[in-house]
Subunit: 357 residues, 2 copies
DNA sequence: TTTTAGCACTCTCCTAACAAGAGTGCTAAC
DNA sequence: GTTAGCACTCTTGTTAGGAGAGTGCTAAAA
């Protein structure tokens, strides 16, 4: 069905008015926002037709009208303007994300917190399940007779470590030898390939009878397993209560309960490409989110460092604003993650790369 | 003022009834719980006196009575029984905390989650501000021409690392040299001692003109600064809404807002000794918690690894239950943190230590 | 054909009034 | 010191009525 230009204007105005006020919008109330030279009766007729088309609805007969999910969908797809990010906001985002040389997990957590703060909505972030993480490099750092550190550089550029204390004394030489052997036999192999056979073979090669090889291999496998566990972060959950649609505790509880469940969160849809995905109310598969909306962006920093960051909020949400901020933050996060450039490097790189900034 | 034995029994029964039902308790309702052979009128008289003593109060003239903060305090100090931890709960706690060789931050986070789940209350945990963290050991792991890893063993037994990528090529030999120099000049020194003078001295000793020393020193200082930032974790905030006293969104918002603020959380009192500290309603300094209670336990795993773990909930809270669980979890956490014993070590240590278990 | 003015109609929201119910406080008897 | 009995108080839920906001429809105007 075709929607006339005027209907579009009215729908747009209705959605935006509702976003601002959280109150059903009346035909008269829209007159101020619309600059059409028509009366409220005309607007009323148009709204009535928009209702028949399923884009607006009335909470009850004699109330104003409220956008339906379909109405929001058309607004999001066709009517909403591109919202930019203000100078000040860009500043805040830059300050929060451009702490270089922070551990990547912390950066993602910070980005999530920041998103929540800027959008005033609960935010979630998770690293994409890495295809298959392998070890790129091993190192064993000898500390003392009983203690050493396992350091592993993973294929997604994360560095993992464990401090190990053993009751039996360990010579530095055997650690050096073992590290070399591990680098030879385990690098590039996924956790599933680290079979007992491989471990005992390595053990034999090391001439190790005390089982040290097996112990370290155990650690390695465990660390790799842990990295598989896609870690999910939720920030600012309580900001949900600031929005009038969640004054109803039952409703808030449903959504907050959903957010507290990592398992569930992982089932949320992700944007296919670089863009931002918007899921409006009943479009959500999860029952708990049927009257909430989700806006989610993808970040991709190469080297397998990718993931999603999103917010959950009422269907009455300033989609344009939220989407713009989310996409901006996702971009900043990707940049922060991919640059390994440390503090004070400017002095060194001076004259090396000339894109300034 | 002296409280008669019977008054104590009645106060105890009243508190426990209120904890169970969340409803003001009536004189008649207590008859079932009390096995005294007296009538409701007698109980009524006693309750009236307990009210005059400020231990009970009436929401309004013709309602039952509710314990006051002072009433809870006496209950907590004198009347409440020692609550144990059930077999099954001990099992769950053990399973969740005895994943050895997990990174310590993750262990604390898991303990907080677990606490929230078991108490059905929001839980927070934080590492105590370490007196002054110093570096115990440096290592620089050469990866390729442009990349290396900084590994630092800190005085509180945490291991920190950073992956560094530089545009200028780096020889392995210079890294080895630098690591030795760093170990010589920086170990045991707090971040505040790492002055420019020290750094340039080291730089000169290394014969380093490219400023690599300064770059690494920059990282080291930043990592030490970050470790100072006592990290706070809050889990299960939304479970607050499950309790009837927080059906009032305003009230829930206040407490949740408080919990979301790391700064504030750090001002919460901590238990002096190993025990559990209970802060009841108005005893809280923070305005937002004036009608909530806090139960908090300390964990101490030696080597500067200590901190607190607590819950926040309604003043009507099963203090005995919560305190028992909290103290049990804190103990388990301390044990998990202090043992560096890895998986599968039993085979090696066999016959080495004989405390069985 | 489209727009507009006018007006009846509907529904919510607020308030007041009222009855029912729960629990106490007090008094007088045990 | 304890108890039965009863009046009193306060909450809670229900009902009724009036005000207000906004629509839907009709008939006239553009």
């Amino acid at each position: 069905m075709e929607i006339s230009e005027r209907k579009k204007l009215i729908l747009k105005a209705a959605v935006e008015d509702y976003i601002d006020t959280a109150e059903p919008v009346s035909s008269k109330g829209l007159l101020g926002r619309l600059k059409l030279g028509v009366s409220s009766a005309t607007v009323r007729n148009e709204m009535s037709e928009l209702e028949q088309m399923g884009l607006l609805e009335q909470p009850h007969t004699s109330a104003g009208r409220v956008p339906t999910a379909a109405g929001y969908r058309i607004y999001v797809n066709e009517l909403m303007g591109q919202n930019g990010v203000s100078q000040e906001e860009a500043q805040v985002i830059a300050e929060n994300l451009q702490q270089p040389n922070d551990a990547s997990d912390r950066l993602v957590a910070d980005a999530s917190k920041l998103t929540s703060r800027i959008t005033a909505l609960p935010s979630y972030a998770m690293r994409a399940a890495p295809g298959e993480v392998t070890v790129q490099r091993f190192e064993l750092v000898h500390i003392d007779q009983h203690t050493f550190i396992i350091v592993m550089l993973l294929s997604d550029k994360r560095v993992e470590n464990r401090l190990v204390t053993l009751p039996t004394p360990i010579q530095q030489e055997i650690l050096v030898k073992l590290a070399a052997l591990f680098n030879a036999s385990f690098t590039g192999k996924p956790e599933s390939d680290m079979t007992t056979a491989l471990i005992t073979a390595t053990e034999r090669a090391a001439g190790d009878t005390a089982g040290l090889t097996a112990v370290i291999a155990g650690f390695v496998i465990e660390i790799l397993m842990q990295t598989k566990r896609t870690h999910t972060i939720v920030s600012g959950a309580s900001s949900l209560l600031d929005h009038p649609e969640f004054r109803d505790v039952e409703k808030a509880q449903r959504v907050l309960g959903y957010l507290a469940n990592e398992q569930e969160l992982r089932n949320l849809p992700a944007p296919d490409a670089e863009g931002v995905k918007i899921i409006i109310g009943p479009e959500n598969i999860a029952e708990e989110l049927k009257d909430s909306s989700v806006v989610v962006a993808k970040y991709d920093a190469g080297d397998n460092m990718q993931g999603i960051i999103g917010v959950v909020g009422p269907t009455r949400m300033d989609y344009s604003r939220v989407a713009a901020r989310l996409s901006y933050i996702a971009g900043g996060l990707a940049r922060a993650l991919s640059m390994g450039i440390p503090i004070g490097l400017e002095e060194i790189t001076e004259g090396n790369d000339d894109d300034g900034r």
